[in-house]
Structures are given as structure tokens and as C-alpha cells.
């Protein structure tokens, strides 16, 4: 039914115009992809070491992957990749394993070099073997997920997506389990304020986040295990989500693959616009992280909804579509399939705007029909949520209705306390009651929903598509970096050389070697 509904072509979009939009998006993306293909970052290199099995942190809590990459960088730079210098040192020195090497290197006891000839070949082979083991673990996790889904069953769409964010993983776990029992299909553990700006991934189980819980490998593992437990009890596979963004985007993506997370927030521009991370750094990190997600079978969620918190949801509707087309292009290029592209959008029009709901339907339906195979992620109102929790509850019900009516696949559950605080346990439970009611009461309503041919919904959708193509023309002509610098997305200006993390970017040398990319790209192409 769902697939049919999507192919119903209710809006009669012009296929030639849609093709043109995609062509322009590819054109705009190409130079950026080229940059990512020819550069690396400190976090990409740390991911390689993580895949090779390096874990743990020193007494100050700085992970060994950071210490080792810094040590290699100090001796030979990042441009050759760390794999060869590290494995060369391992093969030529007397270190038991990468961990001991990292510890010695941190103490200044190792000198790294860039070997050539036979020693280089040997180092490459050893590195590839070690990294291959990490990728095998990701592959096994993917198989485990597929097996569990076959055994337990997959919930029907739309999946109900709910955020948990107490700051304390041991508080999050019972809340997540309670939410799953109350109907949540996807649990997202939102990260602590400030984690995006950390140039390392904290270690261990954590209990002290601000408005969110730190993303750490151990927290991932604990939460996945807890959800496996409820999945078994409930007879449906409950998915786990976290956020691959910030300065450690590639490493968080890697850890997600290693710990069997199922979906990840992963946007090509979110970090740039909303955390002031350097644009070049972000695009390079983004490509590697998506290659890992592709392999892990992880569904990504993009963050276009956020633009509508700083820009007006009507005026900027087309910027959402343009960004979705870009995210789609970057995603496919990195090896993700359409079924892994959870493109984001949101119900953020001011409720005081006349016919707000019809406009929301137009936007939601446009996205649905532009991306028929993508598991779209639809976000609830946030910006116009106030202290009036009663009105907020009503608005969330309308959001749920729009989501059901336009066949969105991942529905983020709106909280009536959005305008006040991070939600109480009871706010979540009430919100789930709201979605469950609308979903059950309106089940199948999609079939009855046929917007009038020249009605507002259809006209508005065409208008937004036309504006999107116009904007794409400009972005393709001027370049994506220029468009971002001008404040095209989220009315926030971010110059290509500004923001944090540019110092972690290096152009790849002729002999650059990254075993992870080699393995991941061998399949992708």
C-alpha cells in the first residue's frame, strides 16, 4: 500500500523539472565531493585506528586514537594517512599491539616515518588486515540486525521516533525501555550540549551530560543491549539512533557501526550552520562517515528541519528541498541506497498563518513525491511551541495527522513541553498516546486523500519546486561553499575558511593510504 500511495503522483510534478533539479544538485555537489576525495581529516584518520581496534583513553580521558594520530602528525603529517606510519612502526619496532604503540608514542618514545617500497607494502597489508577486522565486525552487526528483524518482526510504518536525553545513560535506559513499551519504534539518544565541539569522543559510561547524553562507545553498547532486551519482550525490533555530527562525525559513525546502532543523524551541512564547524572539514568528514553508514546498513537522518527554526518555514521552504537534493546526492555518492536516506523536513509554519495546515500538507507531500523511495523523517513543530502546553498538544496532533496523511515513514514525536524544558517522562507518554491515536484512527486515510487538482496544496507544492530549481541554478553556478557563505541555508552565513576544525584538514599526498576507504569503495563501485 505504502509504495503504491507514493507512486500515486497526486501533485503531477513535471518529471523533466524533477530531473533538472537532480542534475543541478549533482553539479553543485561535484566539486565538494572532489574535495572530500582528495583530502583527509584528523577524525577520519582516528576512525581508521578505531576500526583497527584501538580503544581506551589515557588518564586525562583523551582517547589513544587522538594521542596516536597527534604523534604521527607531529612526525610526518596527516597527508599520507596514519595507517602506513602506524603499522610500519608496529612491524619494525617491538610493540605488542597498537595500544602499546599508542601509549609509547604519547610518551614521545616512537618516531614515525613514511616507508617506501617493500616496508610500505607490508605496512599497508598489515593495516588492511587490522582495519578489515573492524569492518567485519560492522558486517556481522548488520547481519545480526537483519536476523533479529526477521525473527522479531519489523514495526509497521510510520515508525515512531522518540528522543531520550537525561544526560545520564543509566537514567536514559529505563526511560527508553518505557518508551519502547509505550510504542516507540526508534529511540534517539540526543547528545550533550557541547559534544559537537569536542575534538575527541569521550570514553565509557557517562552520567553528566547537559540537555543530552554523551555519545560514547560504551553508552552505545549499553543502550543497544537494553533495547535488544525490550525488542525480545515486545516482539518487534526497536531501533537505536544517535548523532554523527560535530568534529568527530566519522568516529561517531564508526562507533555506531561497531555497536549496531540502526539510524544516525547525519547531515551534510548541520554542523556548519548550527555549530560553526568549518565547511571543508564537515564535507570531508561527512563523506567518510556516510561510507561507513552505507556498509553498516544504517539509515541516515538529515537535518533540514533545523533551517526552519532560524528561517521562516514558508519563505524558506525551497531551501529545505534544495538541501534534501544535495543530501541525497552526497549520500548516493558515498554508497548509501535510497532506502537509507531518511531525508528530514518539518512542520514549522507559524500556526497563526492562515491555512497553515494546507501549506504544511503541500510541503510534506512535495517531499514525499520527490523522494518516493526514501524513508522520510518528519519533524514536529518546535519553534512555535510555547508555554501553552494544551495548544502545543493540539498542534502536535495536527502534525501527526499531516504525517499520516502524506505517508511519512519516520515520525518524530512532538512534545508539548518543547517550548519549555526537555520533556518529563509523562510528557513523552502523553505524546505517544497522541501519535498512537492519530495513527490508528487515521489508518488508511492516505487512500482517501486526493488533493484537488488546482487546489492550494497542489499549487503551493509546484511553487516550492520551482523556487527550488531557481535556487539550485544559483548554487550550481556560484558553488556550494559560496552559497553557504551567503547564508542560503538557515539564514546563517558560514565562510569556507571560518569555523572550527579547519586545522584538522590535510590534502592527501600521492601515496595517501586509507585501508578503510579502500575496502569500502571496493564494494561501492
Amino acid at each position: 500500500m505504502t509504495a503504491v500511495a507514493r507512486r500515486r503522483n497526486l501533485l503531477r510534478l513535471d518529471p523533466a523539472l524533477v530531473r533538472r533539479a537532480r542534475r543541478l544538485a549533482s553539479q553543485a555537489a561535484e566539486p565538494v565531493v572532489e574535495l572530500a576525495r582528495t583530502h583527509t581529516t584528523s577524525s577520519v584518520e582516528r576512525s581508521v585506528l578505531r576500526l583497527a581496534g584501538l580503544t581506551g583513553a589515557d588518564a586525562e580521558g583523551i582517547p589513544w586514537v587522538n594521542r596516536l594520530v597527534d604523534a604521527v602528525r607531529a612526525d610526518v603529517g596527516l597527508e599520507h594517512g596514519v595507517a602506513v606510519p602506524v603499522f610500519d612502526a608496529l612491524l619494525t619496532g617491538d610493540h605488542v599491539d597498537v595500544s602499546t604503540l599508542a601509549q609509547k608514542a604519547a610518551a614521545g618514545g616512537v618516531h614515525f616515518r613514511v616507508p617506501t617500497g617493500r616496508p610500505a607494502d607490508r605496512a599497508r597489508r598489515a593495516a588492511k588486515r587490522a582495519v578489515g577486522a573492524g569492518i567485519t565486525r560492522i558486517d556481522r552487526n548488520r547481519q545480526t540486525r537483519e536476523r533479529m528483524i526477521r525473527r522479531l518482526g519489523d514495526p509497521p510504518k510510520p515508525w515512531i521516533y522518540l528522543i531520550v536525553a537525561t544526560g545520564d545513560i543509566h537514567e536514559d535506559i529505563p526511560q527508553a525501555q518505557a518508551a519502547a513499551r509505550a510504542g516507540a519504534d526508534v529511540i534517539a539518544v540526543i547528545r550533550s550540549t557541547g559534544q559537537s565541539l569536542l575534538d575527541y569522543v569521550p570514553e565509557g559510561a557517562t552520567r553528566e551530560g547537559f540537555a543530552g547524553t554523551y555519545a560514547t562507545q560504551e553508552n552505545f553498547r549499553l543502550m543497544r543491549a537494553a533495547l535488544d532486551e525490550v525488542s525480545g519482550e515486545l516482539g518487534r525490533y526497536v531501533r537505536l539512533t544517535n548523532y554523527a555530527s560535530g568534529l568527530c562525525m566519522p568516529e561517531i559513525a564508526t562507533l555506531a557501526g561497531l555497536e549496531r546502532l540502526d539510524m544516525m543523524l547525519n547531515d551534510c551541512m548541520y554542523g556548519i550552520i548550527f555549530r560553526d564547524i568549518n565547511p571543508q572539514r564537515t564535507f570531508i568528514d561527512q563523506r567518510f562517515s556516510r561510507q561507513i553508514h552505507a556498509r553498516a546498513g544504517i539509515v541516515i537522518n538529515t537535518g533540514e528541519d533545523n533551517y526552519l527554526t532560524t528561517a521562516d518555514a514558508v519563505d524558506a521552504a525551497h531551501t529545505v528541498v534544495v538541501s534534501q537534493l544535495l543530501n541525497e546526492r552526497f549520500g548516493l555518492e558515498a554508497g548509501l541506497t535510497d532506502a537509507q536516506l531518511g531525508l528530514g523536513h518539518a512542520f514549522e509554519i507559524n500556526p497563526a498563518v492562515p491555512q497553515q495546515f494546507r501549506l504544511e500538507l503541500a510541503h510534506a507531500l512535495l517531499v514525499r513525491e520527490l523522494f518516493p523511495e526514501a524513508p522520510l523523517k518528519y519533524m514536529p513543530p518546535t519553534k512555535h511551541m510555547t508555554g501553552n502546553v494544551f495548544f502545543g498538544y493540539l498542534l502536535d496532533a495536527f502534525f501527526n495527522l499531516a504525517g499520516i496523511l502524506t505517508d511519512q515513514e519516520i515520525l518524530l514525536v512532538g512534545m508539548m513541553t518543547e517550548g519549555i524544558v526537555t520533556p518529563f517522562l509523562s510528557d513523552r507518554d502523553l505524546a505517544l498516546e497522541n501519535v498512537r491515536y492519530v495513527r490508528d484512527a487515521c489508518s488508511g486515510l492516505t487512500q482517501d486523500f486526493v488533493p484537488a487538482r488546482d487546489g492550494l496544496v497542489v499549487r503551493r507544492a509546484h511553487e516550492v519546486l520551482a523556487e527550488s530549481v531557481d535556487l539550485l541554478e544559483k548554487v550550481a553556478a556560484d558553488g556550494l561553499f559560496e552559497a553557504i557563505a551567503r547564508g542560503t541555508f538557515g539564514v546563517t552565513r558560514r565562510p569556507a575558511d571560518g569555523g572550527r576544525g579547519l586545522d584538522g584538514v590535510a590534502a592527501r599526498a600521492e601515496d595517501y593510504y586509507n585501508p578503510a576507504t579502500e575496502i569500502l569503495e571496493a564494494v561501492a563501485r
Binding site: G167, P174, A178, A182, T193, D276, S426
Partner: protein, 260 residues
């Protein structure tokens, strides 16, 4: 049944001054409350909720809705009568201590008092990445139909954006010879907003040379209590719904005091 119509004019002075919560009849004291207890759903939970509400002063307390959330929590909605009688004369509001001026007059005042442009440096400090509130005050676009501080000819605005470190903010304020520092804080979980504002106050103590006139520390965000300035080491605190003109008017009057 006899009905005595109660009209505004027939209300006594005492009835106007002493009030109870209003459900649907004057004096009924009815309120509505919802909360969760970490108690397994069942008759014991409902009795616990009724007791809880009574201890909050509701009597009678009707537990009109009880729903288990998982095995160990129960959510309640309670309607009940509060015995509280408020004497409105006891109510205190933070009075605006400065006159609200039109933009033209604000510009004139600055020029005549300072003989130069007034400089403000704004930032969201700490790890907080919310900028919309600060921009609403600073940027030309403004808020609630009022243009922001940038639109005032006699005010120079340096908006540093979000995630700015407290010491960095003070350094920039010093470099720009700021008359006022504007700090925005939106995330309040675990009192992050209070912590960050105190950091700025401390950074000012540390980093601002004694011989230079100290800038005003102006703080804003949706969850601040405007009465908390002293406690936070700030000169003025603005809460939700603040408009640029509020801030500009305050600045003029506060700087005038300093100059006088």
C-alpha cells in the same frame, strides 16, 4: 433557588483584593494539576496521588486520571480545591526601572550623553548554540515588529554569535571598548545558564583592567528571572518576550546614571 447576580460593581473592596483560584464560580478555589509518582500503577498509586495533592493543600483532591507509565511510574491528573487566599496587595512585580523611549529619542540621548556611538558586544556563551534570541535583540530584523539594536544609528553592535568562551567575550569587549556586554543563554538543564553567566562575571573581574570603565553586563534568555541580576553578578537580566527597545531604553538610562 434564589440567584443573586454578582456584578463587578457589587464586589466589595475586600473581594477584589482577596482572591482564590477560579474554576467556574467566584471563590471555588479550583485548580488543575498533573504530575508523576515513581509508584507502580494501581489503587495504592491513586491513593498516594490523592495524599500528595492534599499535602499540596488541595482539599478535596479528585484524582481524575491515573495511568501507568511502564511498571514503576504512574501519571495523574488531579482537580481540587486550593484553600489559598491571595492578598493582591502582597504581589510584587519587577517594575521597569527605566522609561521606555522611542528609537529616535534613544539615539538623541546617546549622542548628547556620550558624544560617540554606544558599543555593545553580544554573544551566547559556553556550549549553548542558540542564536535566535540574541539575533532578535541585535540584528536589524529584530523581534515582535521592532527593529533590533543594529538599526539604531547611535549604537554599534558586535554580535559574536554562539558558543563563545567567556574569556574570549571579555577580550573582544575590551578590544571594542564596549559599553555593554550582552549575554544570551537558552539551555537551562542542570542550571547551565546560571553557570555560564557567572563565568562571564568572573571573566570580567579577572580580565577587565581596573582603570577602564567596566561595561554593563546584560543577560537575557527565556528562562531567566529578571529579579536575579544581583545573584548572578549581572547589571540587568531580561526574560522571555524582551524586545530590542526594552534593551536600548535600559542601556541609555543605565549609562546616563554612570555618566551623571
Amino acid at each position: 433557588m434564589t440567584v443573586t447576580p454578582v456584578t463587578a460593581t457589587s464586589m466589595t473592596e475586600s473581594q477584589r483584593r482577596h482572591v482564590r483560584a477560579y474554576g467556574d464560580t467566584t471563590g471555588d478555589g479550583m485548580v488543575q494539576l498533573s504530575f508523576t509518582l515513581p509508584v507502580a500503577p494501581g489503587p495504592r498509586a491513586e491513593a498516594a496521588a490523592a495524599l500528595f495533592a492534599r499535602k499540596m493543600g488541595l482539599d478535596p483532591a479528585l484524582v481524575v486520571h491515573a495511568k501507568g507509565i511502564g511498571e514503576s511510574f504512574t501519571f495523574f491528573v488531579v482537580y481540587g480545591r486550593s484553600g489559598v487566599v491571595l492578598d493582591l496587595d502582597e504581589v510584587r512585580v519587577e517594575e521597569r526601572e527605566y522609561p521606555l523611549l522611542p528609537p529616535k529619542e534613544i539615539n538623541l540621548e546617546i549622542r548628547s550623553r556620550l558624544q560617540r556611538r554606544l558599543v555593545v558586544v553580544g554573544a551566547t556563551v559556553g556550549t549553548d548554540a542558540h542564536t535566535v534570541g540574541l539575533d532578535a535583540i541585535c540584528n536589524v530584523k529584530g523581534f515582535a515588529g521592532e527593529k533590533g539594536l543594529e538599526s539604531y544609528r547611535e549604537i554599534r553592535v558586535v554580535n559574536l554569535g554562539a558558543q563563545v568562551d567567556a574569556d574570549e567575550l571579555v577580550r573582544r569587549a575590551l578590544a571594542e571598548s564596549a559599553d555593554a556586554i550582552l549575554v544570551s543563554q537558552v539551555v537551562t538543564q542542570r542550571d547551565a545558564h546560571l553557570v555560564h553567566v557567572r563565568e562571564v562575571a568572573d571573566a570580567l573581574d579577572r580580565g577587565w583592567p581596573r582603570e577602564r570603565k567596566r561595561p554593563l553586563l546584560v543577560v537575557g534568555g527565556p528562562r531567566f528571572d529578571p529579579a536575579s541580576a544581583a545573584e548572578l553578578g549581572a547589571d540587568r537580566v531580561f526574560g522571555k518576550g524582551t524586545t530590542p527597545r526594552d534593551v536600548a531604553s535600559y542601556l541609555v538610562s543605565a549609562l546616563g546614571e554612570g555618566a551623571a
